[in-house]
């Protein structure tokens, strides 16, 4: 609903901090885009099945074999903070 689009609330759902200037700018731009998207309501799709993707492939299996994977040091190499071979994160529980 473009009229009551709450950009601050949705940005928080998406875990993005916005500046007040961004809130104002994105709010207006996204209302405009949502207004345009409303045109899909012109179509009757009640009898139409949705398409999630265009290739009719189902259940692609491979053999369940043990293979080499990314070594721990490599996996941690791009981390912003590590300790004892683990990712360091802020405290979650007191």
């Amino acid at each position: 609903m473009p009229g009551n689009f709450d950009v601050k609330y949705v940005a928080h759902l998406a875990r993005i901090a916005l500046t007040p200037a961004e809130e104002e700018q994105f709010g207006a731009q996204l209302s405009n885009i949502l207004g345009y998207i409303e045109k899909l309501n012109q179509l009757d799709v009640s009898q139409i099945e949705p398409t999630a993707h265009a290739v009719p492939l189902l259940n692609v299996f491979r053999h369940d074999e043990i293979r080499p994977s990314l070594p721990q040091a490599e996996a941690l190499r791009n981390a912003p903070a590590t300790a004892n071979g683990l990712f360091l994160v802020p405290k979650i529980v007191e």
Partner: protein, 492 residues
């Protein structure tokens, strides 16, 4: 400068012949590209970075193989530029964004492994709109890429660096990715050939995901034969991408036999839109007449849901993006901005790391998936997608390919559309349906605007896994016209 010194201007197939006969070395070819970059990159800015020493080492390795005689490797010693969205082990990967920080890829994309198996020199990090979101390459955290035909204009996007580098002869061919036109539109605006393969033709393992049901990797090249050669090298099934279809890869270059007599080309009446630049319309009309002269039959077709494609696309693509880009949270890699608790850390990191267009699209995607709106937006868009796909499958019952402009206008000026995202989205009108329908599409040069002289792109849309027919049609037109031989007027 002698003709033999301008090796960087040649195509992959011309260079492969010269390299095979040992007339030139891979080092000379690579050096010619590096020299060209030295002279024009200040005006173009196609690359975020490149490692000249590594590229020359790869060239020397190719020369050692060439010294041993026939290798059967179709791209041996050919420098191919890589869009900054594809992982190359040991090289930086930024997706045109600040949020990846100093990220170095711990593994290579399957297409990179395949290029190496074909002998290519894997070269450089080509600029792009951040996370492939954009149509101008203005949304890069690493600066704007400029169109080699007029450096006051954008190169298109999101694979703008790939298109500009190929058009400016800074590399011989390049890889890009296409979610709604991101290979074909910059190819059109820079005057090169760009191919979006059918969904499932090329493995996406090692491609940073934008919209997983739409993304494909494909070539940007100086001519159709090069596009065919690179496509052949990167296609085929991959156990690491379950959406990649296990069907054999044809010899695409073998399809370029000029035999298009009797092939049927569809002209969609819905594509004659109001916003079409008259110069673009005239160039496409004259391409249609050229196809008739070459023996193809032109058939009027209808794609009745065309007008709904952009709206459906910006729901589906943003919804998928909001999920895919959730991984950039400041925990395991890239930028981290500390916060009082994990949620504060996520919000601050993503607020600081993402650019405006990426934020807009993630927020839009989160909204259309949110409780109460899912059915109204996301599910409805998926149903409209069914109608769009059906339009194409119906049309392909009557024709072998569909002919359209690639973009409604030639390259626009830097900054011209930057303040109005909806106007930018609407410029994708001709390319977006192809991704929604999962078919293949190709853009090739079909003329120029008068003043300033800017390239115009012709788009051919083909059946699922119909790349051979598409390339055959494109090649026949290209070989009967002069457009692909024109070079941009860059001062050295």
């Amino acid at each position: 400068m002698t003709v033999t010194a301008m090796l960087n201007q040649l195509t992959t197939w011309e260079l492969a012949a010269k390299l095979g006969r040992r007339e030139v070395s891979a080092r000379q070819v690579m050096q010619a590209c590096l020299d060209r970059i030295e002279r024009v990159e200040g005006q173009v800015h196609a690359f975020i970075s490149y490692d000249a020493a590594d590229a020359l080492e790869q060239a020397d390795a190719a020369d050692r193989e060439l010294a041993g005689g026939t290798t059967g490797k179709p791209l041996l010693g050919i420098p191919i530029g890589i869009k900054d969205v594809l992982a190359v082990r040991g090289q930086p990967l930024n997706c045109g964004s600040k949020i990846l920080g100093q990220f170095i890829s711990p593994y290579s994309a399957t297409v990179i492994d395949k290029l190496r198996q074909a002998g290519a020199i894997v070269f450089g990090r080509l600029n792009m709109d951040e996370f492939a979101m954009g149509s101008s390459t203005e949304n890069s955290a690493f600066g704007v890429t400029h169109n080699p035909w007029d450096t006051g204009r954008i190169p298109g996007g999101s694979s703008g660096g790939s298109a500009a580098a190929v058009a400016a002869d800074e590399c011989i061919a390049a890889l890009g990715s296409d979610t709604g036109g991101s290979i074909r539109q910059p190819a059109a605006l820079c005057g090169c050939v760009g191919l979006k393969p059918t969904y499932g033709r090329v493995s996406r393992y090692g491609l940073v995901a934008f919209a997983s049901s739409l993304d494909q990797i494909g070539p940007l090249a100086k001519d159709v034969r090069d596009a065919a050669l690179v496509l052949g090298a990167i296609s085929g099934p991959d156990p690491r991408d379950s959406t990649c279809v296990p069907s054999p890869v044809p010899d695409y270059a073998a399809a370029l036999d000029g035999r298009i007599k009797g092939l049927k080309l569809g002209l969609a009446k819905e594509y004659m839109i109001g916003g079409l630049d008259p110069a673009v319309g005239a160039a496409v009309q004259s391409a249609v007449r050229q196809y008739e002269k070459l023996g193809a039959e032109i058939v009027e077709i209808s794609l009745p849901h065309t007008d709904f494609a952009v709206a459906a696309y910006y729901i589906i693509a943003t919804a998928e993006a909001s999920a895919n880009l959730a991984r950039f949270d400041g925990i395991r890699y890239g930028l981290r901005v500390e916060g009082g608790d994990p949620i504060d850390l996520y919000c601050k990191t993503r607020g600081a790391g993402f650019g405006a267009e990426v934020k807009r699209r993630i927020i839009l995607g989160a909204y259309v998936l949110s409780s109460g709106y899912y059915d109204a937006y996301y599910l409805r868009a998926q149903k409209v997608r069914t109608l769009i796909r059906r339009d194409f499958l119906d049309a392909f019952g009557k024709v072998d390919a569909i002919i359209t402009p690639t973009s409604p206008t030639a390259a626009f000026k830097v900054g011209e559309k930057a303040g109005d995202p909806l106007q930018m989205y609407l410029s994708d009108i001709f390319t977006i349906s192809c991704n929604l329908a999962g078919i293949c599409g190709l853009s090739l040069p079909c003329g120029f605007t008068a003043s300033p002289k800017l390239p115009i792109g012709l788009q051919l849309l083909g059946k699922p896994f119909g790349e051979e027919t598409l390339l055959k049609l494109a090649h026949a037109y290209e070989q009967s016209t002069p457009w692909h031989k024109a070079k941009p007027p860059l001062a050295e």
